[in-house]
Amino acid sequence: MADPFLIGEAMTGGYGGADILHACTIAVNKGEIAVIVGPNGAGKSTAMKAVFGMLKLREGHVRLAGEDITALTPQARVAKGMGFVPQNNNIFPSMSVEENLQMGAFIRTDDFSGTMEQVYDLFPILREKRRQAAGELSGGQRQQVAVGRALMTKPSVLMLDEPTAGVSPIVMDELFDRIIEVARTGISILMVEQNARQALEIADKGYVLVQGQNRFTDTGQALLADPEVRKSFLGG
């Protein structure tokens, strides 16, 4: 099998002190959606932060398009084409929607108005509210700003840490639709989700983590069909 586009392989590490991840492997192919699910405290977000370089690994490697990026800082990984949307504090609240997007494109020296148009086409509500302060928007709209900001660098892989946390079910469905649209443009998506069932439905690949280890890894559909996964993690 060809090497996946982005892979965090056999990652072991934590925030100093005890390890949180134990030989955990997360990967995503080009243009596909990979979802990390699992119970609370399973190390889902930690695994994603490890892939993004916000956590020091004791063992294991992270490779992007075949290149070893284990030693790079998060900022350097952004420059390499990784976009990251943190779970909390993922916008600049006092700045307008448009300025948020401009800040997303801060490292770009070329003309990014085309990318901004693409983001506005993807999230039409943002075009409408472009002059409004991002902090005044609703939860779902803020998440759209956050995703839009991360898309401004034209990343090849987009990492989302619980994008639907705290938004209503209707907005959640809409956000998932948008995420599928983003994936269709060829951007790989790696996502941590609390809403396991809905997330696995759109996932090409699913990772069920338990206590920092891979418990189940399969396609989203296969995991949804697996009686053991259903019983333990999806509530029957």
């Binding site: 998060p74 900022q75 943190p86 600049f92 609240p93 700045m95 300025e99 401009q102 800040m103 801060f106």
Partner: protein, 336 residues
């Protein structure tokens, strides 16, 4: 009854002086609020570094005057401003390199940075006294009045007089231009937006590739410029004395906190509120009401709420009230 005279009287003794004083405070408070927003600590060395910068301006002014250079009707100090600004920015950057940067790197608590700035304050305090001495200095030259009380009376034929001193007029113009430029910079330029982004969300700014050290340098440069402008204008309007400048720290902080720390517009509004409160509460309103009320109602006392010596008590009261009832300030800045 003579409302026109009452209005002129009030303009002469309260409105114009308070506008000038408020503008000087605004320039200082803007620096406090920017430093708080970006570097996340209360910069206690503000007043003393302002004195240092102004001292450099004064010494340069004297040197220029020594060479026989003057600026016509305008004060020579304006020509000396660039020297003071550059010296102050270099001084601030040196302080940042030697003191603040270390604490920023180890992500020290804001209180530790405040204490560090207190240390910088004491050092600067001594340095300024070595440089120019502790005494009062006057360095204004050029025309004293845009129009004087006598001019005004001759034009209008009214009994009450109104004067506009050049230093007051200059303060208003310079402050207005400086504020307009600052807001243009913050809202329209890449550097300014990166500052606001960093102030809003430090981690996300880092993720977006904003270089924090660059943001810090820009912040010191702007704060330094504003300090020297504020100090020089205050010195021209009143007089220069290092201790007086140190004391301005209180109204600066009161203005910045009242407006909402980290919010530039708030700092400006706060500065004018503080200035008008200080002036209004320490002004003797008797003659104002003599003009306004029928003669039989004329007040007996001076109608002065507090003596002028207590003007800092007014500011202090504002500060305490804001911290008790609305700690985030008028414009919802960061809470202290």
């Amino acid at each position: 009854m003579d409302p026109v005279s009452a209005f002129i009287l009030l303009s002469n003794f309260v409105v114009i002086p308070a506008l000038a004083y408020g503008s000087q405070l605004a320039l200082g408070a803007l620096g406090i609020t920017l430093i708080y927003g970006i570097l996340r600590f209360s910069h206690f060395a503000h007043g003393d570094i302002m004195a240092f910068g102004t001292a450099v301006v004064i010494l340069t002014t004297w040197a220029l005057q020594g060479f026989g250079i003057s600026f016509g009707v305008l004060p020579t100090a304006l020509l000396a401003l660039p020297v003071g600004i550059v010296a102050t920015i270099l001084y601030l950057l040196a302080a940042d390199r030697t003191v603040y940067r270390f604490y920023r790197k180890v992500r020290a608590k804001p209180m530790i940075l405040v204490m560090a700035s207190l240390g910088v304050m004491f050092v600067t305090n001594g340095l300024t006294r070595l440089l120019i001495g502790p005494g009062q200095q006057r360095f204004d030259d050029g025309t004293r009045f845009v129009f004087s009380v006598r001019d005004f009376r001759e034009w209008t034929g009214l009994s009450e007089g109104l004067a506009l001193r050049s230093s007051q007029f200059l303060t208003l113009i310079v402050a207005l231009v400086a504020m307009a430029l600052l807001f243009w910079f913050l809202n329209r330029t890449r550097g300014g937006k990166s500052m606001r982004a960093y102030s809003d969300n430090e981690d996300l700014a880092l993720l977006s590739g904003i270089n924090p050290e660059r943001v810090v340098v820009i912040t010191w440069a702007i704060a330094g410029t504003l300090m020297v402008l504020a100090g020089t204008l205050y010195g021209l309007d009143k007089s220069f004395r290092p201790f007086t400048y140190f004391q301005l720290l209180l109204p600066f902080f009161a203005a910045a906190i009242l407006g909402g720390l980290g919010n530039p517009l708030g700092a400006i509004v706060g500065a004018y509120v503080v200035a008008f409160s200080e002036m209004g509460i320490t002004y003797a309103w008797r003659r104002f009401f003599e003009h306004l009320l029928p003669e039989s109602w004329a007040p007996d006392g001076m109608l002065q709420i507090l003596p002028v010596d207590y003007k800092f008590a007014v500011t202090f009261a504002i500060l305490v009230l804001v911290l008790i009832f609305r700690p985030t300030g008028i414009f919802r800045g960061k809470s202290v």
